[in-house]
Every structure is written in C-alpha cells, then in structure tokens.
C-alpha cells in the first residue's frame, strides 16, 4: 500500500529508552470521548434491556431521563467515531501481511509476538475491531433512529420498529463483547494504555508490536522489505 503506516504527529525521540509519539492529543481526546459515550450508552441501554439492570437508570436521573439521553449519547458516539474513522481508516486497510499474521494467530495469542510477521500501525486483530465497530455503529444508529419515539415514531410501521429494536439490542450485545476484547487487548499488552493516555510508547513497544510502523518512522520511507535481522 502507498500511504504508509505513519500518521501525522508520529515521531521518534532518541534516548533510552527511545520514545515514540503515537497519538496526538486531539486523537486521544476524540478516542476517550467516544469511549466514554460508549460506556454511558451501554449502561443506559442495559438499564432498559433487562429489569434487573433498571437500577442503572439511577445514574441518569431516572427512567425518563435515561430514555431521553440514550439516543443523544448514541448520536454523540456516532459523531465521535466518525472522527476516529477519518483519522485511522487508511491504517486499517487490508495488507497481505494480515493474511500471514492471521495464519499465525495462535502464536500471537500465546504472546510470542517476536515470531509474528512485522505489522504496521495496526495488526489484524485491531483492524477487525475497527471495522466491526464501524459496521455495528452504522446498524445501531440506523435501528436507533427507527425506535427513537420522540422524533421518528411516525416514519416506520410497528413491525419495522419491532425488528429494529431486536436488531438494536442484539448488535449492542455484540459490540459490548468486542469492546471487552478491545479493552482487554489494551491491558494485556503492557504499555498500550499509555499510548492512548499519554500519546507515546517506548521504542521497544513499537518494535515489538508495530515494527513496520517503527521502521517507517525511523527511515522516513515506506518500505515493504524488512531491514536488519529479525529480533532474536
């Protein structure tokens, strides 16, 4: 692929350890706002999903408020995610490496990333999260509008609403699962959270998880052929 793996603002700072800038501040704000709205959405959604969780409406000032706020949070999340999408979509495009990477997934899960093919800014798993979130958010906003009584009741039949509410709740579940994976991934790979909190990672982190990205960053040129010797 042409565009390369390097996003604007990515940079290397020599030193020990080497520090690499991965996320600019606006990207981080964008991410955390989106993340926050997701959490609130999940809580308000679950509150209306099952009586045993209705108590969660307490967090939003009661049932009516929950009902009123939830769709607006959804709208907010949609916009937020749109920002992330515009920022990162090109680094999430399919590359041949993703195929070989996927083939050695078991190795990755065992934590032996040193034996994995070098990946760019994002590995295959992260790309999956990215694209599935994109897809589900589209479905959620769509079905969400259908069941947004206050403004859109008139535009659809009851049967369409019924289907929408079913799809909406099912997709919500799947999304929550994906986010669990996403969050776990971030916690599992030590140093990852810092990327989103402080915006930087150590060179070692980059070398281990996104070597191709690091190389490009260092050489300034996008080159498919790995230089030097594989890490031992």
């Amino acid at each position: 692929m042409k565009g390369g793996e390097v996003a604007s603002g990515d940079a290397i700072h020599r030193g020990d350890p080497v520090i690499v800038d991965r996320y600019k501040v606006d990207a981080r704000i964008n991410h955390w706002l989106t993340a926050g709205s997701f959490v609130l959405l999940a809580l308000s959604g679950l509150a209306l999903f099952h009586p045993s969780l209705y108590f969660l409406t307490g967090l939003f000032g009661g049932g009516s408020w929950t009902r009123a706020i939830h769709p607006w949070l959804g709208t907010f999340l949609f916009i937020g995610y749109l920002g992330l999408f515009i920022r990162f979509w090109k680094y999430n495009l399919w590359t041949p490496t993703d195929g070989t990477w996927l083939a050695k997934l078991h190795v990755f899960l065992r934590g032996h990333e040193e034996d994995m093919p070098e990946v760019g800014r994002y590995n295959f798993a992260q790309k999956c999260v990215f694209w599935s979130m994109t897809a589900f958010i589209l479905v959620m906003i769509g079905t969400g509008l259908v069941i947004w009584e206050q403004y859109f009741a008139a535009y659809t039949t009851v049967d369409q609403k019924r289907l929408a509410v079913l799809v909406h709740s099912m997709c919500a579940i799947v999304m929550i699962c994906i986010v669990i994976v996403h969050v776990y991934g971030a916690l599992w790979a030590r140093g990852t959270l810092t990327a989103m909190l402080k915006g930087r990672v150590t060179g070692g982190w980059a070398w281990r998880h996104h070597r191709k990205w690091l190389r490009e960053l260092a050489t300034g040129k996008s080159d498919q052929t790995p230089r030097g010797t594989p890490a031992e």
Partner: protein, 199 residues
C-alpha cells in the same frame, strides 16, 4: 514508570466499574417497590347531582348533571360532569355523541358571556350592560310598534296586530318559556311568530 502509571489507572478504572454495583447496594434497586399503583380517584365523589333533560333532539334523554364548588368563581356551583340517567325509561342512562359532550356545550368557547351590542355599520361587537341593552331594545320596539300597530283593518274589524316585528321562538326552551314567549309576542300583537317545527 509508565507501567506503574498505567496500573494505577487500571485500578482506578475498575474502581469506577464497581461504582454501579455499589450504588445498587445503596438501594437503587428499591425504586420499583417504592411505587404503588394509582387508580384515579372517582371524580364524582362529593359532587351535587341534578336531574335534567338533554337539550338536543326530542328523545329528550334523562341526564344526571354533577356540579361542585367552582374554583374560578367561589361560591358558585360549576358543572363538572354529565351522564345519562339510568332511571329514565327511554334512554336508560345512554347518551348520544352530542349528549355525552354536553359539558363542552356548557363551557363552550363560543358561549356568549355578556350582552354585546353592534352599532349600525360597525364591524365589531362591544360589551354593554343588560340595562343598556334592554332599555334600547324596548325603545326600538315601542317606536316601531307606535308607527306600525294596526288597531282596525280597512273593513273596520278590530285586528290589533303589529306586522313589522318578528319573533323566532326556540324549540329547545321549556314549555314555560314557550308560553311566556307566546303571551309576550301576542300581547304585543305579533303575527310573525314561528319556531323550528317547520324546519
């Protein structure tokens, strides 16, 4: 040290995660049981009832009219509900869409509230007092009667009629009003006296 940082963050995060359940423990869960069912209190309790007759068609259904102390005009009774009189042999408590809505008639927005007067050529009504209206009407009637009352016709027969004045009498008025109308109209010598019987 970055790692340390992140760990602390993580704990903090999980702490936040706990918050929900803690709140539950604090009794959010009791929200349900706090609410009791509410059946609207029966609104006719403590009202005064009067037996009346529907003002509309000539089935003349029996009505029960419920009234209570007015909130707007203290001391006055205000009609709060109307329904059919179940004791009435004809309607047996039923009412048609007009009768069922008779309350909206009594409190109609187009109800005349005060005597209103329209001057010749004017394009609006103005509010006047009853005394002004009645005095003016009596005057207009007397003047016209004095001009146009016929005591004897050409053959010299006493006819005592006043043909330039007309009275349309309402067929929803009571029999008593009807008779007073007849008496007043004929007493003045009116022949142009009609009601809705023909139309």
């Amino acid at each position: 040290m970055n790692m340390e940082l992140s760990r602390r963050q993580f704990l903090a995060g999980s702490g936040a995660g706990l918050a929900g359940t803690t709140i539950a423990a604090l009794g959010f869960g009791d929200v349900e049981s706090a609410h009791a069912v509410s059946i609207r209190p029966f609104k006719l309790a403590q009202t005064k009832e009067a037996r009346s007759t529907c003002p509309y068609c000539a089935v003349s259904c029996g009505m029960v009219i419920f009234s209570a102390q007015s909130k707007s005009a203290p001391g006055k009774m205000e009609i709060v509900h109307i329904e059919g009189d179940a004791d009435h042999p004809v309607n047996r408590g039923t009412l048609c869409p007009k009768g069922s809505a008779a309350l909206d008639y009594i409190r109609s927005e187009t109800r005349v509230k005060y005597p209103m007067y329209r001057k010749p050529g004017a394009n609006k009504f103005e509010r006047v007092s009853w005394d002004f209206a009645m005095e003016r009407i009596a005057k207009l009637m007397k003047d016209d009667r004095d001009q146009n009352f016929i005591e004897k016709n050409n053959d010299g027969t006493t006819v005592n009629r006043w043909t330039t004045m007309a009275f349309l009498s309402g067929s929803s008025c009571t029999n008593e009003t009807g008779w007073l109308t007849w008496k007043v109209a004929r007493g003045l010598g009116l022949l142009q006296l009609e009601n809705q019987a023909r139309i």
